[in-house]
């Protein structure tokens, strides 16, 4: 079953690459602006021999990982506290709904003012964007707690911490995992966007330099790298999710099918 899926995925990718080769070759799009797959692959091969590429990759991954970790921890802590403390949810609901849709990139001037073109500017944007993904899922997750289970725990005299630990957390965990998986993708997009626009070190900055230099194949080669990175991160996040939730019926159910 899994082998078939991998084969289908590879076939789809191969077809897509072939299309990328054919479209400029047939003259549907000018080669100068959209080079065929083979030329992009050539540029990619040049890139991977360049040490600047690897340090940029490292910078992007650092921004992504740090940002995601901060956003996840903050989202989980804030989400649980908001849910557990009476009235806090009502007090914060409108503020959260107000802040959540503000696009992270709109904060770029603030980031530059505070931190210049450093990693911390990237972190500000990444954390802001991915924090809400986690927080909202945690809030949903906590709402899903079975009231009977909660009442039972209360009547057995469990304290707040014990109820968070044994009732709330197991119910919320699948939601948290979904939030973290969504946040992982958002964090990558924002890390690269921040680098591209602000000029903080990383793959985004290299894309910006290639763009400004009219180095079209190199630019697409770097874009391909960001796509691959997104793919890997998604696969990784799903694996972690399956491992962490191996006990949960949603995952157990999936395995049985």
């Amino acid at each position: 079953m899994k082998g078939v899926n991998v084969a289908l995925g590879a076939a789809g990718l191969a077809a897509f690459l072939a299309l990328g080769e054919a479209v400029p070759r047939l003259g549907l799009v000018k080669e100068a602006y959209f080079p065929p797959t083979s030329r992009i692959a050539g540029a990619l091969a040049d890139e991977v021999t360049d040490s600047a590429f690897w340090s940029a990759l490292g910078d992007t991954l650092t921004g992504w990982a740090l940002g995601l970790a901060i956003a996840s921890c903050a989202g989980i802590v804030v989400g649980v506290v908001v849910s557990v403390v009476p009235y806090l949810r009502e007090v914060t609901a409108s503020t959260i709904e107000f802040l959540r849709p503000i696009p992270s990139v709109a904060l770029i001037p603030l980031a530059v003012l505070l931190y210049g073109t450093e990693l911390r500017s990237v972190l500000l944007l990444v954390v802001y964007a991915s924090f809400w993904q986690v927080l909202i899922q945690v809030l949903y997750g906590v709402q899903d707690v079975d009231p009977v289970a909660d009442e039972t725990a209360r009547s057995y005299g469990l304290g707040t911490w014990a109820r968070v630990r044994h009732v709330l957390w197991p119910t919320a965990l699948p939601y948290v995992m979904t939030g973290v998986r969504l946040a992982a993708a958002v964090a990558l997009i924002l890390a690269i966007t921040a680098e591209l626009i602000i000029g903080a070190p990383g793959l985004g900055k290299l894309i910006g330099v290639a763009q400004a230099s009219q180095a079209v194949p190199e630019m697409y080669a770097l874009i391909v790298v960001t796509g691959l990175l997104g793919l890997l991160i998604n696969v990784g996040a799903r694996t972690v999710e399956r491992r962490a939730l191996a006990w949960h019926q949603s995952v157990r159910g999936e395995v049985a099918v």
């Binding site: 001037p109 073109t117 602000i198 000029g199 009219q214 962490a244």
Partner: protein, 322 residues
């Protein structure tokens, strides 16, 4: 699951620790100093224009004056001015109109050294108002009612394009100016999405290689040898560190003169911080790098900018220029 939650807690603590540990930049106006050499951060856009400073750094001209440059490349001027004013960088590179706009908005900037000037030679400038090969447009006057791309509205290139149209006898108000990044202009021009584009190198070279024609040299229409961009600092930094500013001025003037005298070396160093393909780089027209700004050209730029309503009040050039 216990392990997971323990891991998350440990991770959170570690992050808090590292986040606190990394926030020690020192006072923003200090500039690290060791062994008589002061390190200053310079905010630049990775383009041909700033080649002299990379060259000056490589040739030891800054070291000679007791300075070490740390280049911070930003994608656009939008990050450089706030970066300098907030003390993230000590110096920055920006076009003169942006500096005048900043000053009239109460942003404390002070130009300290010359940056680049137009070549003053029509058809052989790093900037041009270009149309595609088979365009019927022959002069800037014919752009009335047409769509012209510039990189930033209400900035130096708006002044320049409007002046080019005026000089050709047209009405600049009838030209539809659209904002577009320089690097997207060759493709947009080629596809007919715009009728003309005000571009700088290396996009100028790309359009030329596609057979595009130059119908005007807008910077030259503003002033024959226009000072286009300069290096600047914040007024606060200039007041508190007059000696560093003086060293920077001297080293920059030497670097500009060196680059002007050694264009091949300047062209070569561009490959170290951009990805301009070798074939394009050969075709690129280098700007002029005079050591001193041309005050009368800046006055012309200011008057036109005022006419077009770019400034809230009249810029104070005596305060702005070195």
């Amino acid at each position: 699951m216990r392990r997971l939650s323990a891991g998350l807690t440990a991770g959170a603590l570690l992050l808090v620790a590292t986040a606190c540990g990394s926030s020690d930049d020192g006072s923003p106006d200090a500039g690290a100093s060791s062994g008589g050499v002061t390190t200053v951060k310079l905010g630049v856009i990775p383009i041909v224009d700033v080649a002299p400073l990379y060259l000056g750094q490589q040739k030891g001209l800054f070291e000679k004056h007791g300075l070490k440059l740390e280049f911070t490349t930003a994608q656009g001027g939008a990050a450089i001015v706030p970066g300098v004013v907030s003390g993230q960088f000590q110096f920055g590179f920006s076009n003169v109109t942006s500096l005048m706009v900043a000053q009239t908005n109460g942003v404390p900037v002070k130009a300290v050294a010359n940056g680049i000037a137009s070549t003053g030679v029509r058809g052989k400038d790093f900037n041009g108002l270009m149309v595609k090969k088979d365009s019927p447009v022959k002069s800037a006057k014919e752009l009335e009612g047409k769509k012209v791309a510039i990189n930033t509205l209400k900035n130096i290139n708006e002044t320049a394009v409007r002046q080019a149209v005026r000089e050709a006898g047209g009405d600049p108000d009838k030209v539809k100016l659209v904002e577009m990044a320089f690097d997207q202009m060759p493709a947009a021009l080629d596809q007919g999405q715009i009728d003309a584009a005000c571009v700088v190198e290396p996009a100028t070279a790309t359009i030329r290689s596609q057979g595009g024609r130059e119908i005007a040299s807008p910077l030259i229409d503003v002033a024959p040898e226009l000072t286009v961009a300069m290096y600047f600092t914040s007024t606060q930094y200039a007041q508190q560190n007059p000696d560093v500013v003086k060293k920077f001025q001297e080293a920059t003037a030497e670097s500009l003169a060196y680059a002007e005298a050694h264009p091949d070396e300047a062209r070569q160093i561009v490959t170290t911080y951009t990805k301009i393909p070798a074939a394009v780089l050969e075709q690129v027209v280098l700007p002029k790098w005079p050591a001193e700004p041309n005050r009368s050209s800046i006055e012309a730029l200011m008057k036109l900018g005022e006419e077009d309503g770019l400034f809230k009040k009249t810029p104070d050039l005596d305060a702005l220029l070195p």
